[in-house]
């Protein structure tokens, strides 16, 4: 009986291979997008973990020389002998690979080759045998070195003994930085007395690379989730349709005495089998997507945040298992409703379009209420949500609520149009569209989600880009930056630069505390560089006038948020009160920052003399200036940084981020277009009875076909109109709620009408393409088939 039942159930798919294809393809695509994005994320994260383990990057405080130069090795020994538990690091780049020299005896556990691979000869390692540890890729990049392949090393990084690193980089007796171990002994001497040239760089905690890259990963994850939601809508549609169409089979089976329970179990098992197959295909596809995207993602992250990400992909169980799980879970969600309905619906209810529409009418109320509740909830959350969970709840309720509301909104619009229509054809068109709506609504919901996800994520990513480029302009405004070694060099530089530059801007700062928060206070010289380039999130009437006048202070967003300070509030520096005149965005900076005028800075911090200078000049004259400066004052070119070129490079790399986003955009739209195609194809066969009367009354088949195409485009257009505000709300939630919750700063939101228009066009194009074939099929329906409708009364 079981076998016979299964055969009966499966026979449906043999007779409707297209539906089977829709189901499998929809699920596979959804899984592919999800697992592709997850793979990219997982790979990148694994790379960071390896980097953190190799280097302890950001985990530990570090001591470096104030001027950034290497320190004498004797300082290391002095510090150790004074009780400081520090471990020396020598690093550099060799053929593009970062080489890190460590002392395994003093390095914190978890750093360096503390658990060396089998057969490692530690004695040889310590006595300068020149062993390096790195991944296979790193080994390939350093063919002349003895690289022992250690997969857990960070990408593009080779570890070696500090003595070897000193030799390779000709840094004999020199050390670049000292890691400060956690848990320092009692009674160690003060750093300022022991090594006045050194400064402590606090552990960067979660604030540096991790935070910024997390932001990027969060975007990708959100995108993956939305893509999956789109896929699930397709699956839901396909399953719902299959169940409707199999109602006669179900009726027959039940009449033959098959218990409902067994039927439900069998149908469930059948679906899970499909889910498993589709999931496997999806994971494989996801691997391909990830493999194609990963080099770009790696380049993006390396360029943007300086994080090295391995450019190759490993098949990680975490993500392919999660891909399978989500395929199975998604199918379960999509099928649950259909199975429940089958169990509850009267056995004899008809299973044809009109009945579908009527059933939809009954469901509409429930759906409407659910949509209203969810949208109401998201309206409340928009005002109140402030955590990460709140942010995601907001996203979810907004998306699901809008998706559920979509058929109702479209139905109202169509009903209105129907009333307004004058001609009979128009009236039929609107009425017929309305009747088709229930069958198409799932595909349209998928399109809605795909479009709004695209609008939302594009808005967010583009806002991020715009903000970041503005920020680069603001912060790297000077054409040339020069660091001096001492007062004499500073004086020489100022004298030399006086006639050859527009202005010399000293960059001086002091690390202190403001309102209990660790803060860098900067003293700025009155110049248009600041007035023209800096963007404020909040400001008083003329913040620069009062700040350069020494009366007010400008603070960054981090300090503002953490200390609860706003424009008009007062902060105290060295006992002097200053009113806050402006709050500026300071992206990616982990700590607070404050800017005061140069004059008042000199009064408050007389011991600080500027060692860094920004020079404004014609960008073209920068190379000559640097050469002449060295000739005239002996300040070497290595002490200057041509920021214009750096900015150009970083912006160029930034563009690659968006190739990733664009690729994902195209994919989700393709998935949604596919959903429309499948829905229309399925509906087409059922629609012949509806079309036959229209044909009989004199419409040509070509006319009917054109109307079909028009209908699809019109529905897509209406969906696009709903998708735009939804996408913007989504972007807002991502930028103003999720980003703040995750990273502590809000990204300003910008609008990109041209992008939205292009996206809308793509969506219409996708819908038109999807409708083309079904419309052609309808237009070519043999008249005999249309006639049959009248002879074969159902």
């Amino acid at each position: 009986m079981t076998w016979a039942t299964l055969q009966a159930l499966l026979s449906h798919w043999w007779r409707n291979p297209l539906q089977l294809f829709t189901l499998l393809a929809g699920l596979a695509l959804a899984t592919a997008l999800w697992s592709g994005v997850q793979a990219v994320n997982a790979e990148a994260r694994a790379s960071y973990d390896a980097a953190a383990a190799t280097l302890g990057e950001g985990q530990y405080d570090r001591l470096v020389r104030r001027d950034g130069q290497p320190m004498a090795q004797a300082i290391y020994v002095d510090l150790r002998r004074a009780g400081w538990l520090v471990s020396p690091i020598v690093q550099g780049r060799l053929d593009g690979v970062r080489i890190i020299g460590v002392d395994p005896l003093t390095a914190p556990s978890g750093i360096g080759p503390v658990a060396p691979a089998e057969g490692t000869d530690i004695a040889a390692f310590l006595t300068g045998d020149g062993q390096f540890f790195g991944t296979a890729e790193t080994a390939a990049a350093l063919p002349d070195l003895n690289v022992i392949i250690t997969p857990e090393t960070a990408p593009n990084t080779a570890l070696t003994d500090i003595g070897v690193a000193q030799r390779v980089f000709a840094k004999s007796g020199q050390i670049d930085s000292l890691i400060v171990l956690p848990g320092q002994p009692k009674g160690r001497a003060d750093l300022a007395t022991l090594a006045p040239d050194l400064i402590l760089q606090p552990a960067q905690g979660g604030s540096d690379i991790g935070r910024l890259t997390d932001s990027f990963h969060l975007n990708l994850t959100a995108f993956g989730l939305l893509s999956f939601a789109v896929g699930i809508f397709i699956v839901n549609g396909a399953i719902g349709l299959a169940f409707e169409q199999r109602r006669p089979v179900v009726r027959t089976l039940r009449a033959l005495g098959l218990p409902l329970r067994q039927l439900v179990i069998l149908m469930g098992a059948e679906l899970m089998l499909f889910a498993l197959i589709a999931g496997l295909i999806g994971v494989a596809l996801g691997y391909v997507i990830a493999a194609v995207l990963l080099p770009d993602v790696a380049a993006t992250l390396r360029g943007l945040y300086g994080a090295d990400v391995s450019g190759t992909l490993q098949l990680r169980p975490v993500w392919w298992l999660s891909g399978l799980a989500i395929a199975l879970g998604g199918t379960a969600i999509a099928a649950g409703g259909a199975l429940y309905q089958m169990a509850k619906m009267p056995l004899l209810a008809a299973a044809q379009p009109r009945a579908l529409a009527m059933a939809a009418g009954r469901r509409a109320r429930v759906q409407g209420i659910a949509a209203a509740v969810l949208l109401g909830l998201s309206a409340i959350m928009m005002v109140t949500a402030n955590g990460l969970i709140g942010g995601f709840t907001l996203l979810a309720s907004l998306l699901i609520g809008a998706a559920l509301a979509l058929p109702l909104i479209l139905d109202r619009i169509l009903a209105g149009s129907s009333k307004a229509a004058k001609s009979v054809t128009a009236q039929w068109f609107w009425a017929d569209t309305r009747q088709q709506l229930p069958g198409l609504s799932l595909a349209l919901m998928a399109l809605l989600l795909a479009m709004s996800a695209n609008v939302g994520v594009s808005t967010m990513v583009s806002s991020f880009r715009l903000t970041f480029t503005d920020f680069l302009d603001q912060r790297l405004a000077s054409e040339l930056y020069i660091r001096t070694e001492n007062e004499a060099q500073s004086a020489a530089l100022i004298a030399f630069a006086k006639d050859r530059t527009d202005i010399v801007l000293p960059i001086q700062n002091v690390d202190t505390q403001v309102a209990g928060q660790p803060t860098e206070v900067f003293g700025a010289r009155d110049h248009a560089t600041y007035r023209d380039n800096w963007v404020f999130l909040e400001q008083s009437v003329d913040p620069w006038d009062t700040t350069f006048g020494g009366e007010t202070v400008l603070i960054n967003e981090q300090l503002s948020r953490r200390a609860g300070l706003n424009v008009g509030d007062e902060v105290t520096l060295q006992g002097t009160p200053f009113a806050i005149a402006g709050v500026y965005g300071d992206y990616g900076n982990p700590i607070g920052q404050a800017v005061i005028g140069e004059g008042v800075f000199a009064t408050l911090y007389p011991d600080i003399t500027p060692r860094n200078f920004g020079l404004r000049m014609d960008p073209a004259s920068v190379p000559d200036f640097v050469a002449d400066l060295e000739a005239a004052t002996g300040i070497p070119a290595t002490q200057s940084v041509n920021q214009a070129s750096i900015k150009a490079i970083s912006l160029g790399i930034f563009e690659r981020t968006f190739t990733v986003t664009t690729a994902l955009n195209v994919l989700t739209l393709a998935v949604a277009g596919f959903a429309i195609l499948m829905s229309l194809l399925t509906l087409a066969t059922m629609r012949v009875p509806q079309l036959a009367p229209a044909w009989a009354m004199g419409m040509t088949r070509a006319q009917i076909g054109r109307l079909e195409l028009l209908r699809a485009v019109m529905l897509a257009l209406l969906t696009a109109v709903v998708a735009l505000p939804l996408g913007l709300a989504l972007a807002w939630a991502l930028l103003a709620v999720v980003n703040v919750a995750a990273f502590g700063w809000e990204l300003p939101m910008y609008f990109f009408p041209m992008d939205y228009a292009r996206l809308g066009l793509f969506a219409l194009l996708a819908a038109a393409l999807a409708a083309l074939w079904p419309a052609r099929r309808l237009a070519r329906t043999p008249p005999a088939d249309l006639l049959k409708v009248f002879s074969n009364e159902r």
Partner: protein, 342 residues
């Protein structure tokens, strides 16, 4: 005598330990080997001997606070050579390891330091004598010494004053370790009076007591079939002292050795079999923390019991080391070290 140091001497090459250990007992890879009838040269021999594979400066002390609470203290500097030369810079083949510990009746504080030999971070100079690793020092002229160590949770600063002569174990300082003839150079200063302050999480505690400083170096310390070590340094109330050790062998037998020290520093060495040490009770983690120790030739039959049973040295290679009380034919205090139980 701290044979676990022979194991610990290989502390770094944890993965290389097996091969290193196997190679160590039998041949010496160009390292100098101890010979009978040593002629010591002081103060030079208080310093390092880089042509020998391993060496240590090993101090243990039994201390008492003003309120009568007993404490134990350890300060140890190990040297391990990868090649028989001193060298300079990071590639110098001399490695150093420091262990410091304070044992109270309820707690056991331990810390460890590691350093490379060629850069000045750790080392030993003979004249003036200074043994150091990082900020830890043992320095002075051996009549008086200053000793410090620090850790995140404890520190100490102690002054030592010698109240007797150096004593030499085995045959005038040539100490045999197995029937096959493995040996080391081994002498001690067991007559130090010690006083100073322990900085513990419980607070600063002023203490006084006596300390025992061991010096030992070798290149071929253990036989292939020897797996662990039980070492006793006992100070009896009548002024006599005794050093004894028992090497555990894979065949279930032991190799024992002892030195009997009179109050004025005269020594009587005892070869294998004269000393008998029998475990009486095991701690929760299966370490014998009560022993019956017998040296019939001197009428010694005592029970040695740990003051704190949980005196594990949680260092690169773990071992047990802590203060003990002595009762029976002779009463007193002392130190016990056990390896091969982890």
């Amino acid at each position: 005598m701290n044979v676990k140091a022979f194991l610990l001497a290989l502390f770094l090459p944890c993965t290389a330990m097996a091969q290193g250990f196997a190679g160590l007992g039998t041949d010496a890879d160009g390292f100098t080997v101890p010979e009978p009838n040593p002629q010591f040269d002081f103060p030079a021999d208080h310093g390092a001997h880089p042509d020998y594979r391993i060496e240590w400066w090993y101090l243990t002390a039994n201390l008492t606070a003003e309120d009568g609470t007993p404490y134990g203290l350890q300060w140890t500097l190990f040297r391990s050579a990868l090649a028989p030369e001193a060298g300079d810079g990071w590639t110098a083949p001399q490695l150093w390891m420091g262990h410091a510990a304070v044992t109270t009746p309820d707690n056991h504080y331990v810390t460890e330091r590691l350093a490379r030999g060629g850069i000045g971070q750790a080392g030993v100079t003979a004249d003036p004598f200074e043994a150091w690793i990082d900020d830890w020092v043992l320095q002075g002229d051996w009549d008086t010494l200053r000793m410090t160590a620090s850790a995140p949770d404890f520190a100490y600063d102690m002054a030592l004053t010698a109240q007797g002569p150096l004593i030499f174990h085995g045959d005038a300082g040539y100490s045999v370790k197995s029937a096959a003839g493995q040996a080391s150079y081994y002498y001690s200063q067991p007559f130090f009076a010690i006083e100073g302050t322990l900085q513990l999480p419980e607070g600063d505690i002023a203490v006084t007591g006596n300390a025992w400083l061991d010096r030992e170096w070798s290149s071929q310390p253990l036989a292939d079939n020897q797996t662990g070590w039980d070492w006793f340094s006992l100070s009896f109330d009548d002024g006599h002292k005794m050093m004894g050790f028992r090497l555990q062998q894979t065949d279930g037998n032991n190799f024992t050795s002892a030195t009997w020290i009179s109050p004025d520093g005269d020594t009587t060495p005892y070869t294998d079999g004269a000393l008998v040490a029998t475990p009486l009770a095991m701690s929760d983690d299966d370490v014998p923390v009560r022993w019956r120790v017998e040296l019939p030739a001197q009428g010694v039959d005592v029970t040695v019991a740990a003051i704190n049973e949980n005196a594990w040295m949680t260092t690169s290679v773990p071992y047990w080391e802590g203060p003990v009380t002595v009762t029976g034919s002779h009463a007193g205090i002392g130190y016990l070290e056990m390896t091969g139980y982890e």
